[in-house]
Symmetry: C2
Subunit: 197 residues, 2 copies
Amino acid sequence: MTKPPNPQRRSQKSRDAILTAALELCGEEGYGRMTIEGIAARAGVSKKTIYRWWPSKGAVVLEALHEAADTVAPHPDTGDFAADMRTQMATVIRFLSPPSHAPLTGLVADALRDPELAEQVRERLVRPRIEAFGQRMRRAQEQGQLHPDADLNVALDLFYGPLYHRLVLHLGLPEPAYLDTLIEHVIRALDPGRGGS
Amino acid sequence: MTKPPNPQRRSQKSRDAILTAALELCGEEGYGRMTIEGIAARAGVSKKTIYRWWPSKGAVVLEALHEAADTVAPHPDTGDFAADMRTQMATVIRFLSPPSHAPLTGLVADALRDPELAEQVRERLVRPRIEAFGQRMRRAQEQGQLHPDADLNVALDLFYGPLYHRLVLHLGLPEPAYLDTLIEHVIRALDPGRGGS
DNA sequence: TGTCAACGACACGCCACGTGTCGTCTCCTG
DNA sequence: CAGGAGACGACACGTGGCGTGTCGTTGACA
């Protein structure tokens, strides 16, 4: 029906203006109130141009976040795993605050209703982060700061689960002191040395 | 401006029809595609009647879930805390999985963009569940199945965080075997007896 | 039995959606 | 250095759900 456009002829200027406008509007009026028409107006671009390259508002924000994400929330390695996790998770928390205006929050909300967007979010945004976490975790294991048998999935769930749990149930994101408590607990959970059956 | 209606004169029949229609449509066409007009048509009710008693689609679904929720996902007490948590969490997982997941995930998605709805969800749907979990947890502590110093918030985050984390990042909800592993880890995390600083 | 408000019905303006059209301008190609 | 394909901005259009307003009708308290 509608033949796909030719990426080689794409206007880089328009693309950048659209992604920038999307993130700005998200911060100003919130993801929910932002519209495709608003993005087009702000970017000085025709609506048609947006629809030519993205299927939905969520896809635009996803791409904008994807571009920004590489420099955001990296996993530091100072040699102290717990401290590094605290640093990284604090960055994630800042990224999700305030929830009503955070692009990522809006994207997560949209993805709950749009399976195709959900897949894109998982593969382009989430999966690379899991990979980065896995690498940092493995170094911690090599350095004896984390039990060598610790499982990646379990660690991921226990570290980051509380953040998203609190985000989506509106229980308030962790304060620094509480974040420390959480990390302490998780590291203990990952050490089966004691206690077990 | 618009004076609040008199609850005494409210038609119970219309109210029930609206809540029923909302849950039915949610399951049939999904939360996102469901509209207030659709609910009104299905319930044989005027749109005005819905807007008279609820501010939004989310509020309707919230009330419908609130009515259904009391009998759903209680915290059993067989005397085995880990087994009871497995039972209860498996029920929650069923509610967050197809085909029954639509109302709750849709509501969660809406609440991420509507602060007033978010507050209602937290106070009416989430808070009572936290309370129920707290009571079961306290019994486990009294019976020596959980460390007496275990913190309610930490326990809540570690038990349920992984579920919502996996839900919103589309990582797949836990299988039974993995759920067991998680619970094992969490109970260990909540026992500071070993290891500490 | 009377009264008054909630009800169903229906109509309205609004706004964002997603698409279509057209003339312009830019950038590959030959 | 032309020529032409096509991405672009502009603008107009039909659609559909939103939230409100109006108007008889109905049904539940007093």
